[in-house]
Amino acid sequence: MTLALIVLIPFLAAPLMPLAARAGRGVCALAAGLATSLSLVLLLADAPAAFAGADHRWSAAWLPQLGLSFSFAVDGLAFFFAFLILAIGVLIVAYARFYLGPADPVGKFYAYLSLFQGSMLGIVLSDNILLLLVFWELTSLSSFLLIGYWNHLPQSRQGARMALIVTGGGGFALIAGMLLLGEIAGSYQLGDILLQGDAIKASPLYLPALVLILLGAFTKSAQFPFHFWLPHAMAAPTPVSAYLHSATMVKAGIFLLARLWPVLAGTDAWFLVVSLTGLATMAMAAWIACFKDDLKALLAFSTVSHLGLVTMLLGIGTPMAAAAGVLHVLNHATFKAALFMSVGIVDHETGTRDLRRLGGLLWLMPVTGSLALIACAAMAGVPPLNGFLSKELMLEAAAGTTYLGLPWLFPLTAVAGAALSVAYTARLAFVAFVLGPRHELPNHPHDPPVGMWAPVAVLVAAAIAVGAWPGLAEGFVAAAARATTGGALTELHLALWHGFTPALAMSLTATVGGLALFWQYGPIEKARAALPRPEAKRMFDAAFDALVRTAERAIAATHTQVLHHHASVAVIAIAAAAGAWFLLAPHAPGDRAALPATVPAVAAWLVLAVVAAALVLRHRDRLQAVILTSVVGLIVSLTFLQFSAPDLALTQVSVEVVTTILMLLALNLLPKETPAETGAGWRGFDAAVAIAVGLGAGGLAYALMTREVATISAYHVAQSKPAGGGTNVVNVILVDFRGFDTFGEIIVLGIAALAIYALLDSALRGAAARRLAAMRPGEESRDAHPLLLVVATRVLLPLAITAGAYIFVRGHNMPGGGFIAGLVVAIALIMQYMASGYAWAAARARFDAHLMIGGGVLIAGLTGAGAWLFGRPFLTSTFGHLRLPLIGEVELASAAAFDLGVFLTVVGTVMLSLATISRVEERAEGPKPPPPHRAPRPRRRAEAEPARSLVPTEGG
């Protein structure tokens, strides 16, 4: 269970962050830090098991039919990565507290960061590859949010989108690859798959699975040719870059390669593809990094280069090379996170990250400068720092690799890559920090507060410790390496001094070569500038635009934008299917006796027929169409009454009223007539379709009503009182028998209201608002809020609310219920908006409609969940009788609380949608004269309602 908690804590913490942010930035950072530390402590508790190689797993069924289970396991490798994620996570949380500016919403930042952290932990701890895929996609999504955190900057949005498209696209390939892998192994449990290495490598599906999985891993880890997204992701705030590109996001691909190493590595295909991709990425990215002037861009390409290095090591396929790869993951995470944070400090303090403008920072900010220089030395592989250890191992592995009969390819390229790495690191270190200042800086830089450089110091200390005393990290890395290689690695010994080996010579060559490159930087830069350079972003954008154009052409070729063509296709298809069924089926008449045709029934039927005919003739006049449609609604409610369904009749009437108000409000802003959209030919065709469908639907209704059909109604009627505790069957069905449906429906209602609010909010600003203002009717009444109407609605309000309360309370046993009561109360409140104006009513509304919707759904949900306390399924209802003095026996049903939730949601929904429309309307009509009958009382709430800026606020 604790294993699952490690992953779940960040997810649980994420929604709390915006709440914590209300208490202040420090509190929010503290909360995020506490959540991360809690996960870290739980993880450390599992350390002994992970180091001992014990099988520590936890599992719960999720969708066992699909092989998806909620299972987690920790071994050396998972522990290694999870530790990096959480330990560096704590440092990032602390650093971000001081990095983010006063204008940046911290709650949002920490919420996204927690989500991302949880997703990463999910990837490394999942014991089920389908679950791993879920978390894999979650990292793509949450990293999108993090990279696009500064969503007011275009490069942020573009960078975030590019990262999402590349990693998300790779995620698709990965899904296919993982499914193939699961098919081959016959199980989606990682533990089972890892035991079947030989069977998987022998399978004919091995190659496609390998290619697809590699696509997923390479896109995530920014391997050539998918490396281009990573530099653009640098538009994110620096804490995000430091986290995503040192310990987490890009390491997910590396983790996947390491995790599946026992089952995928060791074949020719693996070696040829993975090692060469890594080698090429390493050399190419290091070359580009040498010529970047933006410090973050330089670090970005250096990250790509180091990821290439690890990929190459995993690709070589020997256990020792894989161990070196794992070691370098640790080393890279420490020095790269430290460097990103240092660059963030430089940016923060000087206002620029441009190498051409920076210089001599070591003397201006000694603490940051020293820390950054040590981190640089680690990155360049200077002894006795940790980068040296992994560089030696890398060169040793490369020296022993023969690729396609070319013994010199790997050693030579590896030395070149290492030399370039030394060159760009030297450039970063010397130009920015050591050599004297060359230009005036935008701000006068000095060392930041301790909170900002302390995380860097911790990482640098780790880099020194691991380098100087390799034994410290040996057990940690060895456990991870053993898990990676599936036990093939027998012994790992890390040391600074291995004697005079070929690797040492290569390392010296690389260092000298790198410094020489730095010495001769000017001429080389000139020569390179003359070379043609492919611009990855432009190519990506062009490819993307081409895709969009193709999609648009395909849509234009296959779609029509005329709504009624869509509708007629659907209607004709349904009619054809039903007609075919009808022709194939027997046509015996029903045997149920018909009810007598009474005079009122015939009259109502006649009215319906006349109204329908009139609607067909007059439908272009919108006002008449609304009135005629409402007649249909009234007749329908009379029909309900006729067949003893007073509940439905009440509902129908109140829905009718609300709909009509909504329509009239909307019509005010629409042209009075709809334009003629169809020619005579189409109209004839449409008429034929309509008549055919009408006859079909009528026939169907006739056929059904003349037959005895067994329905569930009898059960509902019989069980209403004994099982549901109410005599009003309709209400008991709504709140009890089909309570889950109702619960879903109120959520949909709430979402619809919020969507109306969100869509219409844009009508209050900018071009849309101006267009609306231009639609003002020619002449308006000078008294927008007539005295008589204002007084009448205010007198009616308490009466209507009383009626609503009455309808609500009697609902369980008599016609009524939360839904109808909600509509009645909402109508009464809406009348205030209509009579006294939006501003007047909004200023007096004590309950926020958003709050009512949320509260209603919450109450209904909690009532349902309350059943769990008694060990019953969700929404099990109960009822009892209570004897109160004076009042007598009162029935208490848990369903009433649920009904209260329905009531609140309905009121909130109607209020929010109608009030939003009326607010748009008020804006469209410009400033109104003030309501003349303002009660002399102070404003209750000082909320900043945008509409009020147009309406003068006289003192009450």
Binding site: E780, L799, P927
Partner: protein
């Protein structure tokens, strides 16, 4: 049920039906909006009132207890019907130019509320314009 009660109920229903018919007839037949308004407001309200009284007597005679629903309905009706008529009349004044010309003088400083804002708010209107300019 008592014959007497039935007779009274029947009388009220018939009376109500008569007023409803007259109201509907007036709505259909009278020449212009202002006169047509009389039908659905006065006559029909009276007719429905008769029906509600009939209903009250019916339930009083049948159950022996007075029914208050009808009183509430009456209250709602008496509140809403005049207001609706008032609003229709105002809309008519606003939209129908000849009707506007035919309006008599109010006999006070202010004109018809629908057409001109009361002079009391004129100063405020000017103030608002300034406020918006800021």
């Amino acid at each position: 049920m008592l014959l007497m009660a039935e007779l009274v109920i029947a009388a009220f229903i018939l009376g109500g039906a008569f007023f409803l018919l007259v109201g509907s007839f007036g709505l259909a037949k009278l020449p212009d909006t202002m006169r047509r308004l009389h039908g659905p407001t006065k006559s029909t309200t009276l007719g429905i009132g008769c029906l509600l009284i009939a209903s009250m007597i019916h339930f009083l005679a049948e159950r022996g207890a007075p029914s208050v629903h009808e009183l509430l309905i009456t209250l709602f009706l008496f509140l809403t019907a005049p207001v609706s008529a008032h609003m229709i009349a105002k809309a008519h004044i606003l939209l129908d130019r000849p009707a506007r010309r035919a309006l008599p003088d109010t006999g006070q400083g202010d004109g018809w509320a629908t057409l001109a804002a009361p002079s009391r708010t004129a100063g405020e209107t000017a103030g608002r314009t300034r406020q918006r300019a800021v």
